[in-house]
Structures are given as C-alpha cells and as structure tokens.
Amino acid sequence: MRSITISNSILISAPILVLIVLYAFTFQEMEGHPAEKPQQEEMTPEEAFEVMMQVLTHKRCINCHPDGDRPLQGEDSHFHHLGVVRGPDGHGLPAYQCNSCHQDRNNNFSGVPGAPHWHLAPKSMAWEGLSPGEIAHSMTDPERNGGRTIEEVEHHLTADPLVMWAFEPGLDQEGKPREKPPVERGDYILAVKRWVASGAVIPE
C-alpha cells in the first residue's frame, strides 16, 4: 500500500517538476530575446551581408544552383544519383520530372526532400564555385536573375517556400536530419531585409 502511495506522489509531482523546469527554460529564452533583438536591428549592412551569405553559400542553397546540367545533393554536394539532369526548364525531363520523386513537402519515410515547385535554378543563376560577392552580383543582375527587381529578389530570398525549405530540410535516406544553414531562419530574413533596405551594397 505504502509503495503505491509513494509511486502515486511521484506520478503526480513529476509532471509538475517537468513543467517548472520547462517554464524556467522558456522564461529564460523569452528574457533572452528582447536583449538580442536591438543588436540584430543594429546590424551594419556589412554584417547583414555576411549573415545572409552564410546561408546563400550553404549547400542547401548551392545544391540547387549548380554550375552545370546536373543537380547536386547531400552534405558533400555530389551529383544527384541516377543520372538526373536539369532538363529544358530546370524541372527535369518530360517523362522524368523532379516531381516524379520530389513532392511539395519532405517525405521522411523515403528520405526524399520536398517543397512547393521543387526545381533547379536556371543556369544563369549558377552559384556553385562563386564567392559571396560574385553571388550577390549574380542575384542582383537582371540579366542573370530572370529580370527580377531587388524587391523581387528579397521576396525570393525571404518568402519563397522552396528557399525556406533550407531551414526545414527534413530527414535523409538514413533517417538523419539534413544539415541546416548555420544561421537561424529569423536572423537570416532580418539580415536580407536589412541588406536590401540599406541599398543592397555589395562589399568589395
């Protein structure tokens, strides 16, 4: 009887303890944010550029901006398995499209990544092998960026679900989480907006 009473009290008190600990963590985090925010808002354009480029040079972006006709994949950016090619419009070949395997969401059963309109960036937007400055020149040059204005570039970088996939890349075929870019999504978006708002100047 006694042991039952003890286990009961443990059962009742354990969740309360967990809640207190969780609350403490959450509370600490909440306290941390207001302190960080002004710092981010005060980012210089050069700092914003640097934060943005930590993401844009990451393999989650570069793998789909290859300098060639084959997509790259994986943490080591190898050529996409099975001889997959970009095709006439970056969506694959007529009867073997990206969407034959990649749907509008990650598939953690098969390990196949997915996001809306999964496809390769056109060859004119190849970033593979470019320096951060060269990438910035490429993406702001209407001759190479598909005639986009800087506002449209900002929208692609901060709101396109295909780009945002980089921050939720799902599990690979071995069930391991894919590597995310080294910057939090919110900080990255803030950095892009800050860089564009300050004139999209590309540091020498």
Partner: protein
C-alpha cells in the same frame, strides 16, 4: 483520415494517415499488387504509376496528394480486354526475366510515350531511370520502340 481515391477509373475510400505512402495504400489496403515495392526510397522505380498521366514513384508520394487526381496502375493499362500497346510490345519482345521491376518500367514507358511519342535511344536513357536487377534493359529498349510503332498504327 478518410480520403477518396480514383484508381483505374474506380472509386475507393480509404481511412489512413494522410502521409501514408500511396504505394502501401494501393498494395496493402486496396490489394492491387501489380505495383511493386523495391527500395522505398524513390531510387529504383519499381513502384512507378501514373498520377494524372505523369510518372510518379508511389513509395515517396503521400496518399493525401492523390485525392482528386486520376491514378493509373499496371492493372488499369488494358481497356475492354484489349492490351495496351506497351503490354503488347513487352510480350512480343519477351522482355521480363524475373519480372519484379517490369510494371514500374512499363508505367514509366507509358508516361514517356505520352510526352515523346517516338523516343530516341537517348530519350529512353534519360527519361527512364528505373533499375532492373536482371538487366533486361536491352529488350526493354526494343519493346519501347515497338510500343511507339504500335501506338502510331493505332491512330
């Protein structure tokens, strides 16, 4: 979650997780065993079927995406007892060896011929990336050209 599916022109209702792979619904819940499970990783193509006429690897396709779309499996290729040209060509060229990969290849071929009615060898190599462990590629290539011919003579 309850979902309605249209497969080979027939209506089905299934009650399952919305992320369940379409392949498993078709094989294990609806007992249409023609579509095969090979790798489960969208790598081998043995699970290929058509969704609105496009080739899809059904092991990597959540069933909920199939709602409101027309699914065609190998069981739905023949019409009114008439063999589909791809089936006819496969028989004429005696393509299969063990046969396991063949439904996937045949469905990929139907998708190819819908898009490229008279494919070159290069079109075949680039658009059909399925895997056959028995190595029947050579006979398949002949059968694909034969199916293209049969398609033309059917018009």
């Amino acid at each position: 979650m309850k979902m309605k599916l249209e497969i080979n022109g027939s209506q089905y209702e299934v009650d399952t997780d919305r992320n369940m792979p379409l392949l498993l619904v078709i094989r294990d819940m609806l007992d249409l065993k023609g579509t095969k499970y090979g790798c489960g990783r969208a790598a081998c193509g043995s699970c290929t079927l058509l969704v609105d006429g496009e080739a899809v690897r059904s092991c990597s396709y959540p069933v909920s995406l199939a709602e409101g779309r027309q699914i065609t499996t190998i069981e739905g290729l023949s019409e009114n007892g008439q063999r589909h040209p791809v089936q006819q060509a496969w028989i004429e060229e005696i393509v299969p060896q063990c046969g396991y990969c063949q439904p996937g290849f045949m469905m990929a071929t139907v998708a190819l011929l819908n898009k490229i009615p008279d494919p070159t060898d290069e079109d075949i190599d680039q658009n059909i990336l399925n895997v056959c462990r028995c190595g029947t590629y050579f006979r398949m290539r002949k059968a694909i050209h034969r199916a293209a011919e049969l398609n033309k003579s059917n018009i």
